[in-house]
């Protein structure tokens, strides 16, 4: 009764979505002020899984910070490994053997594939379709097995090292990856048939959650969110690192700016990732997987360094201030979804609750990465 009286008086009511809610995929809380089923204001509240990784970076040695990278974005942890490896390699001028770079690219792209597959399933789950999640998990499981056979872990990878990778890949991994890609290729058209072309899904995604390119720019949104708004920007192309310049792949860009565009960008990215992996497998040379001259004790010269990689969710960049000791003076982790979610408040205004949750799903949130 109080509820009804309240809503009659104010004509709006406040709804707490989360911290425990099926659609937030983690401990995100969104404070929503609603007018009926329409959102007047939706304010994300973070910090439920804040662990102060940046302070840990100041207290641990460079090498000891490795496991933290696997625990930021638990879905594309290898890309984060890449970011950190690249940062210190830039700071110390370490040359990485080519084979190691190819292994890095292959594992990162496999990781991106599994991240997108999980996102695909979870996103359709947000929209109420349960079955694609299980199909996506089936494929994802294959990737996890492959990655497990080379990195030893299934989720929180700690595989890269400064100047290379932890260990070499074996032939089983290479043949297994090729076989997997052969298996996944026909699955994606099946997903399109089952999900993308479904009229119910189209109704829910087309023209929902409009984010203009300028809004992306103002909020610093990156990754598939930015590419879904018609901006052709991919760190792998625009700020090439590793061996990406030697590989031939496209950056999918959609100009519709809606949830469907973001969805399609990710689906197309999966195809591109498969292309990259195949090429990298073909081109991978023999040789060492770790720089021989990599120093044991790391003391990067004074100054600040910046390195950005394209993680599954957008630009992950690290900035560190080194004071030439074995710990960093300041470690800054720029997580893509933090910026991507910050536009939620503006973009979700006036949306229907169910559309807003679909929109949130299309941003592909990973909470531990946001809270750091």
């Amino acid at each position: 009764m109080t509820l009804l009286a309240q809503s009659q008086l104010q004509e709006t009511f406040e709804l707490n979505i989360g911290p425990q809610h099926p659609a937030t995929h983690g401990v995100l809380r969104v404070k929503v002020i609603m007018d009926g089923e329409y959102i007047v204001k939706a304010e994300p509240v973070l910090g439920y899984i804040h662990r102060m990784h940046e302070k840990m970076g100041e207290n641990r040695t460079w090498n000891q910070f490795w496991p933290n990278l696997g625990r930021l974005d638990y879905l594309s942890a290898i890309a984060y490994n890449h970011g950190y490896a690249g940062l210190l390699e830039r700071a110390m001028g370490i040359e990485v053997p080519e084979r190691a770079e190819y292994i890095r690219v292959i594992t990162v792209e496999l990781n991106r594939l599994q991240s997108h597959l999980l996102w695909f399933g979870a996103f359709i789950l947000d929209l109420g379709g349960f079955t694609p999640l299980m199909y996506a998990f089936d494929e994802r499981e294959q990737i996890l097995d492959l990655l497990e056979s080379v990195t030893g872990s299934r989720l929180t990878y700690c595989y890269f090292r400064f100047g290379g990778v932890y260990n070499d890949v074996d032939d089983d991994f290479i043949t297994g990856t090729r076989a997997f890609i052969k298996r996944l290729r026909p699955q994606i058209p099946m997903y399109h048939d089952l999900v993308t072309k479904n009229v119910i899904l189209m109704e829910r995604l087309v023209d929902i959650g409009h984010i203009s390119a300028d809004m992306c720019r103002k909020y610093g949104a990156t990754g598939p969110v930015l590419r879904g708004s018609g901006v052709n920007f991919d760190i792998r192309k625009n700020e090439p690192y590793s061996v990406y310049p030697e590989l031939d792949f496209d950056v999918p860009v959609y100009h519709e700016c809606d949830s469907m565009a973001r969805y399609m960008v990710r689906m197309d990215e999966m195809e591109q990732s498969m292309r990259i992996i195949e090429q990298a497998l073909d081109k991978m040379p023999d040789g060492p997987v770790k720089a021989e001259k990599a120093p044991k004790i790391l003391k990067p010269p004074k100054g600040d360094y910046h390195f950005a990689v394209e993680a599954a969710r957008g630009t992950f960049s690290m900035r560190t201030v080194s004071d030439a000791t074995n710990t960093s003076y300041r470690m800054r982790l720029r997580s893509p979804t933090y910026s991507n979610l910050s536009l939620f408040e503006e973009a979700s205004r006036g949306m229907l609750l169910s559309d807003a949750l679909a929109f949130m799903g299309s941003l592909d949130l990973v909470i531990p990465e946001m809270d750091r």
């Binding site: 079955t131 097995d145 497990e148 030893g152 089952l194 009229v199």
Partner: protein
């Protein structure tokens, strides 16, 4: 108006295709692995908790108790305890305690280990309701029936004993010279002798 009907027809068609796909999946075999009844073979590189490796030559581990694993560990989950046993080269490991509750399986310890005495195990069936069950003594795990006594090298033992005697002798001589200084030097001398041996 034609848009209205074509939209409807396309919609119905898309729904029918969806039904066809799920029907196909319904008729194919499930892929579930019945975990407790059957299990997958773990990848050789699977990172379980670390373990001391058995060296087939000596019948025990090859840990030299240098403590590099302990130093490199980001989460301080390793404690290496060692002691000096007369007649044995280097320090002898008495306990290698791993607090697996805080381990992040990063592999720094395995990488830092010069004699390659530790590696990841393939154990994944770890479950307990008590936190204490995840604090292992890896040495005990390696030798469940009891840690074998380190092999004493008689020649080394003799040498050491001679050294200690010599040191004692020297100390005794010095003691005569100056009582206070002698006591301090005795301790140092003893340690040095250990370190050299």
């Amino acid at each position: 108006m034609s848009g209205y009907f074509s939209y409807l027809l396309n919609g119905i068609k898309s729904l029918a295709i969806g039904l066809k796909i799920t029907n196909k999946e319904f008729l194919t075999r499930p892929i579930t692995l019945q975990y407790p009844h059957e299990s997958v073979k773990m990848a050789p590189r699977y990172r379980g908790h670390i373990e001391l490796l058995m060296d087939s030559e000596t019948g025990t581990h090859t840990c030299i108790s240098c403590g590099m694993c302990q130093k490199g560990c980001p989460s301080n989950c390793i404690t290496v305890k060692s002691k000096k046993v007369p007649g044995v080269k280097g320090k002898v490991l008495t306990a290698y305690i791993l607090d697996f509750t805080t381990c992040s399986l990063c592999g720094q310890c395995v990488e830092n280990c010069k004699p390659a005495a530790i590696d990841f195990s393939n154990e994944y069936n770890l479950a307990s309701t008590r936190k204490e069950d995840f604090v292992f003594d890896l040495l005990q795990k390696l030798h469940p029936e009891g840690v074998p006594e380190p092999k004493v090298d008689p020649a080394l033992l003799k040498k050491e004993q001679e050294k200690i005697e010599a040191a004692a002798k020297a100390a005794a001589e010095k003691k005569e010279a100056a009582a206070k200084a002698a006591t301090e030097k005795e301790g140092e001398g003893g340690e040095k002798a250990e370190g050299k041996s």
